[in-house]
Amino acid sequence: MSIKLPKITVWRVIFAVILACGLYATYLRVMYGLGGATNLSDKFPWGLWIAFDVMCGVGLAAGGFTLVAMVHIFNIEKYRPILRPAILTAFLGYTLVVVGLLYDLGRPDRLWHPLVMWNPHSVMFEVAWCVTLYTTVLFLEFVPVVFEKFGLHKPLEWIHRISVPLMILGVLLSTLHQSSLGSLFLIVPEKLYPLWYSPILPLLFYISSIAVGLAMTIFESWHSSRAFGRALELPLLMSMGRVLAVVLSVYLWIRFLDLSHRHAFALLAQNRIETWLFALEIALMAVPMVLLYQARIRRRPGALYACAVMVVFGFIANRLNVGTTGLEAGSGTHYIPKWSEIAVTLSIVAVGFATFRMIAQYFPIFEVEEHHSAGPEMEETEADSVAVG
């Protein structure tokens, strides 16, 4: 490889600015503690780093277990071409969740404590174990890619031998902690606004994670096809759009039943910030659901991509509502993240995109024949738009 200076593009400049801000925010976090880097307070102990970096991070990585279940357990072979990118996204996602946790924990040096000091009555304890184990599983699911790249056939065989129990374990662990992120909030019935507080929060979190896992898979297929000049697996993504429409319908219907059984609909008449945020969140799920039922929408890559983006944002809105905005009134305070919280979050996202791109470029993530066709001349043109977003 010849050394050449990277070209300066708009996206690269933005990337650099975000990272510079993130680095300064990191300095503030380390030197001045959580008080110096966040707007958290005794009344509002969890903010953006938990609600986005952890809760959204884990959810957006749900494509990994969804695709593994579809391809390996339900044996729907046709989805195999997009399995590896989904596993890579998941592995990176979970790694970045741990990075986010290192920022958020008061004592990041004690991240390992829950593995040694047990409290099985704590949802957080369960999540800690599941995330640790599942990140390991994802590593093992991803590592064959590395073995293939370097032609290590022996370890490849070993991994293949344990792959089935590994896949099942991965799906189980995901089921547990995707839902448990919702269970975390079962203990704040008097704080979380009733449009979001529900005894079935774990179920709602689980179903919405499957929806966003599918949406993220469409999202990243679209981006990587542009970045690497690959043909889009359109028929695949179209059928995935169908599945997504059904999952969204199930989710919204359960959400509707839940609100109606809890007699929470009267709240929608109140002109409060919560009402509008709730409406936004539901619209971002309902609109793509309606659109995805139509064949002419699914057939158009741009429209399919737009639907996926809406679902991703609807999901993020939901997690932020449960994790921050829905708790403000009940906690008797207001919370707006400090610039440094946002800078760290954006940096983590940016690093995620860049790392995905790098790994996808040098390792056999996409189908081999397509990988060859993506020559270096292609990546010059489209790659940069993807590097950060």
Partner: protein, 246 residues
């Protein structure tokens, strides 16, 4: 025999001697400026609040079934048989779930420290073990805060209401709230008027999450059988198809 604290806000004169006694016991600084701070914080673990012409004292409720102890992933918080909910700073990793979960918003954090700890009242755990009164009860010059056996304090609180029904709001706060606490309040007015949360339920908070957590073994075992079964069926189908040359 579990211990408890009874705080009678009708007797409290707002002298803040309890605050000073508490600070001394924890080795925390206490001066006029800190005395003027209206709320509990990491350097002020009890606070006398003013609500109009009434006083109300804030401190950890040391719940009978504490939410904080149930949510702590490392078991840094423990409910002791004597009543206090204690905290082991050496275990704490700073996830702050205890702060989020506490229905009374009691736990506070050393936000500006590089190696922060959670701080809260622990009902003078070591003094209770030694058979001594809590520092706040010992400091109170008028008996507004008293410390004793939980059962006896409930009786005492009810006796006071029965003796002077016109001077008291007819309930004792803390007997049934979140399944019972170790701090009881008596008041002349409804409790929300002296800043107490009245929207908390009667059910112990840990129940809310345990109802789901206790399903984990069921989910894992059922899921293993189900996923394993589906795998076996779908891949068997593929094998057969391969053999038949389809």
């Amino acid at each position: 025999m579990p211990k408890a604290i009874l705080y009678d806000s009708t007797l409290c004169i707002g002298c803040k001697a309890c605050e000073a006694g508490c600070a001394e016991r924890w080795g925390l600084p206490y001066n006029e400026q800190i005395a003027a701070e209206p709320r509990i914080s990491a350097h002020k673990l009890t606070a006398v609040e003013t609500h109009g012409d009434r006083f109300s004292r804030r401190l950890c409720m040391n719940c009978v079934q504490p939410a904080c102890a149930s949510v702590c992933p490392v078991g840094a918080l423990q409910k002791t048989s004597l009543g206090p909910v204690t905290y082991d700073a050496d275990k704490c990793m700073g996830c702050r779930y205890c702060m989020q979960a506490c229905p009374f918003q009691v736990p506070t954090y050393e936000w500006n420290s590089r190696l922060p700890k959670m701080r809260k009242c622990n009902m003078c755990s070591e003094r209770q073990i030694a058979g001594k009164l809590t520092a706040c009860a010992e400091a109170c010059p008028v008996g507004a805060t008293i410390n004793g056996n939980r059962d006896e304090l409930i009786q005492e609180a009810r006796r006071r209401i029965a003796e002077k029904p016109d001077q008291y709001y007819g309930k004792v706060y803390g007997i049934s709230e979140v399944g019972g606490t170790s701090v009881f309040y008596l008041s002349a007015v409804p409790f929300e008027q002296i800043g107490l949360r009245t929207n908390v339920g009667q059910e112990p908070m840990p129940e809310t999450t345990w109802r789901v957590l206790e399903l984990v073994p069921d989910v894992v075992s059922t899921g293993t059988v189900l996923l394993g079964g589906i795998y076996w069926i779908t891949n068997r189908r593929a094998e057969v198809a391969k053999k038949e040359g389809r």
